[in-house]
Symmetry: C2
Subunit: 457 residues, 2 copies
């Protein structure tokens, strides 16, 4: 056993340090389709912030690159370890420390999964509203990627739902930022800076999240459209109607077919209509009052018709839930039909028609394709990219990302850059901003040990 | 004319550079009660981001400290200039560049006031929902302080309503951050870092703000309580009821009396009840549907009764508006009755009773007093401090701020630290966080020219 292993094992206990063959294959990757797994030299499973601090101090001293890992459900390779690196896995720091029903917050350790957290808050009628499609994701991972998900249109993304952190700086100091308060104007907002930094600035060891009352009544409208452009034009109008949807998704017909097939989804859309459909909108509403919900669903259904839907289906109860759950599995459907990458560009809602038309043309012109769905209300387009040749694909993705940025958007709306999109970011982003980000990284992490291949790899 | 004046005048044109006696007294202060005015050496009024960039480059070269000024309505001395310093006043950069009704955003120059912006967006039925009590405040000033206001309980503070910036770095580079999209996970969030940094990291030269539909129906409930503690205990319960109030304020009886007197407010509360009242709650609801509003107001009124209100008054139309407007003037009322300082501590909602009881005791024990009101739904307590002796006051404020921080809160919820509370921050905040903030400042502003007395002064 090398010096590194002895020292790291001394911190977390030898049982909680894996080296060599003891390291399971899973620690080498997340769910990104385009990032090759890479085995770390060490996996440490700390139990406390103090242990995390000791690990980081030791790693700084020994020059060992450190990658935080939550549940490894990321889709950008954000937790893929560095060569010879240390993975800090938060799997043992998975307690819900407090569900505070007066301030409507929960205080959790970072390794808590979204489904565990939901189990803890549900009895109080409260919930954390960040729902990426994968509920085995951890709250720490949400902080790392600034995760979004379907409910972001109503409740915002992780950034809007995390009020405070306990975080360990790479220099080994343990700090607390924010708290059980919705706003602070006292110095620079370190909470916001750490959120979305993909484990490259500091590691969250405790997270204070907002909770929202769970509304008892919900229903969804499923609206097939004959034309993708029409769907995209409908989206801002539905947002503007003020019905405050908690879900507003689009799925193109191929994606819907794929998830309907793999999830055995029976939507009740007759074949004759399915054949004329190019894309679907799924819009969900929720309310404390059943009568208000029904009134609003009716307004929504009418509006969808006016905006050109071929037909409108109102789904309630299990049928509505099944559709939403199936939509959450779109990633697996894309993977199973052989997608070469999945991206999640964000553009202004108004630019979605242009973005979709052009990006699909770009993909088709390579002989491949781009299919998708997305959090349409947020302008967040999830495209499955089919393009086998890596060189062509790189060129295609560069063009698609440049298109999105040119339309006023960004490379990733919620998945993060990780190790699959960091290169494009460096190529396409303003050098002055990159230089500033490098200086910020330096301010947090002078030894450059935290997830060094992120952003600046 | 010195070298500085020649060079700065060359950038903005001599007409737009003030020096010496031409500098009006107003440029030396904001509305902070406890910060002495200080005349700057120069006031420049740029018209473009490029001019701002040239000003900052030149100031860096000449070592001239620079303070941004919006409307000077801040209450923490954030725009009070440095000795021999340059004030960059954004008064000429006051155009509403775009009201985008598809994406529900406006793009504005920083000098636009909130009332001008409202005038521009109202015809489209949309509004920017950050309403600090003073509508002559500028959007750039909101960015500087991370301003809040009464609607923050529903719509969040500036941080939640600014989607993107054009900003000039002190090194003279012009960058763009964010955009017309509600979420981004692509690199560090520079927008969020600049917001609330009180002009010490970068200057905003263009701001993209979220707009929300204006809801047509609104009403308020005014509920007098016999006991301040009871009010504070009622607040979390009203929040939890899920009625989604857009305003949730408390006012103690002295503050209510002062604003009622100075604003000639006729609330219809009989004297017999006023005499038994220790504090008032003001809760406003708004809705797209008049019938829903009335139903909810009734629920709210009942709830207030159950929670111990002596009586409940429902105000609609002009009466409701007048009450809210008068509340916005509480600051002037405090000033007119001789308050020595006004602070805006934030604590978890659950800690408000303890905070208020103890802080008032602390103030009374100095022979002075603490009166107030606040954005109770946010845990944001605005206290007018009466304590003439500066040394005693300093000790009192230190104790009050330490109390708030000990309860899990912060020195300022929305006003910022400016030059009135920065010293307390340095004394009470974790040295590891201060050191990190210093390094962040250094990463943005290596020459240390931007509002240098903020935070680290
Ligand atoms: C089927 C499927 C659907 C999905 N749908 C969505 C979706 O709709 N929206 C969405 O946003 N995402 C979605 N995702 C992606 C993923 O679930 C999210 O990115 C999630 O936030 C990752 O959490 P994790 O615990 O798995 O993080 P990991 O993959 O383990 O790590 C993610 C990043 O966070 C960092 N990190 C982990 N823990 C910490 C910590 N304690 N402190 C600091 N940094 C840390 C890691 O280093 C890494 O950079 C989906 C994934 C799948 C497989
Ligand atoms: C009666 C009254 C009631 C108030 N009520 C509230 C309230 O309820 N909530 C609340 O939050 N505030 C309130 N305020 C305070 C004030 O209105 C806000 O702080 C507002 O944001 C200040 O805007 P301003 O344009 O006047 O900024 P200024 O006072 O000019 O500047 C404020 C800070 O922002 C910086 N700054 C200015 N422009 C820029 C720019 N372009 N880029 C970067 N930094 C910049 C300045 O350097 C300074 O540090 C109130 C003030 C008054 C007088």
């Amino acid at each position: 056993m090398g010096d590194g292993a002895v020292r790291l094992g001394g911190i977390v206990g030898d049982r909680n340090l894996l080296v060599g063959a003891a390291i399971a294959e899973d620690y080498g990757h997340d769910e990104a389709l385009s990032v090759e797994p890479r085995k770390p030299a060490y996996v440490a499973k700390p139990a406390t912030a103090e242990e995390v601090a000791e690990l980081l101090k030791t790693a700084s001293e020994l020059g060992i690159p450190v990658t935080a890992r939550g549940s490894g459900t990321g889709v950008s390779g954000g937790c893929r370890p560095a060569d010879g690196g240390l993975v800090i896995s938060f799997e043992r720091m998975n307690a819900v420390l407090e569900v505070d029903t007066v301030n409507h917050v929960a205080v959790v350790q970072p390794g808590v999964t979204l489904s565990e957290l939901d189990k803890a808050t549900s009895p109080a009628g409260l919930g954390y509203t960040v729902y990426p499609g994968e509920l085995s994701a951890s709250v720490g991972g949400n902080v790392g990627t600034n995760a979004g998900g379907m409910r972001a249109i109503k409740y915002g993304v992780t950034r809007h739902n995390v009020l405070g952190l306990q975080a360990v700086l790479p220099t080994g100091e343990i700090i607390r930022t924010g708290g059980k308060v919705p706003k602070i104007s006292s110095g620079y907002d370190l909470t916001q800076l750490v959120i979305g930094s993909e484990g490259s600035l500091a590691l969250a060891t405790e997270v204070t999240v907002k909770l929202h009352p769970k509304l008892p009544h919900g229903a969804s409208v499923l609206a097939p459209f004959g034309d993708l452009d029409q769907v995209m034009t409908a989206v801002p109008k539905i947002v503007a109607a003020g019905l405050d949807p908690n879900i507003l998704e689009y799925l193109d017909n191929m994606t819907m077919a794929a998830i309907a097939y793999s999830e055995k989804l029976e939507l009740g859309v007759p074949e004759e209509i399915r054949e004329r459909t190019q894309a679907y909108l799924v819009v969900s509403l929720e309310n404390r009052h059943e009568d208000r919900l029904h009134e609003d669903i009716e307004t929504l259904a009418e509006l969808a018709g006016e905006l050109g839907a071929i037909d409108v289906y109102v789904l309630e109860g299990p049928a509505a839930r099944k559709l939403v759950e199936a939509r959450e599995k779109a990633f697996w459907a894309a993977k199973s039909v052989g997608a070469d990458d999945v991206i999640d560009v964000v553009v202004p809602r108004s630019a979605m028609p242009e973005f979709l038309t052009k990006s699909r043309e770009m993909a088709l012109s390579t002989g491949g394709g781009a299919l998708g769905c997305g959090h349409a209300g947020d302008g967040n387009v999830h495209l499955a990219i089919f393009c086998k040749d890596p060189v062509t694909r790189k060129k295609l993705l560069t063009d698609i990302f440049a298109l999105a940025m040119g339309l006023g958007g960004a490379i990733s709306g919620e998945h993060g850059l990780g190790q699959s999109k960091n290169g494009y970011f460096r190529e396409l982003e303003d050098p002055a901003k990159l230089a500033l980000m490098r200086r910020l990284k330096q301010a947090f992490d002078p030894a450059g040990i935290l997830n060094p291949s992120i952003l600046f790899g």
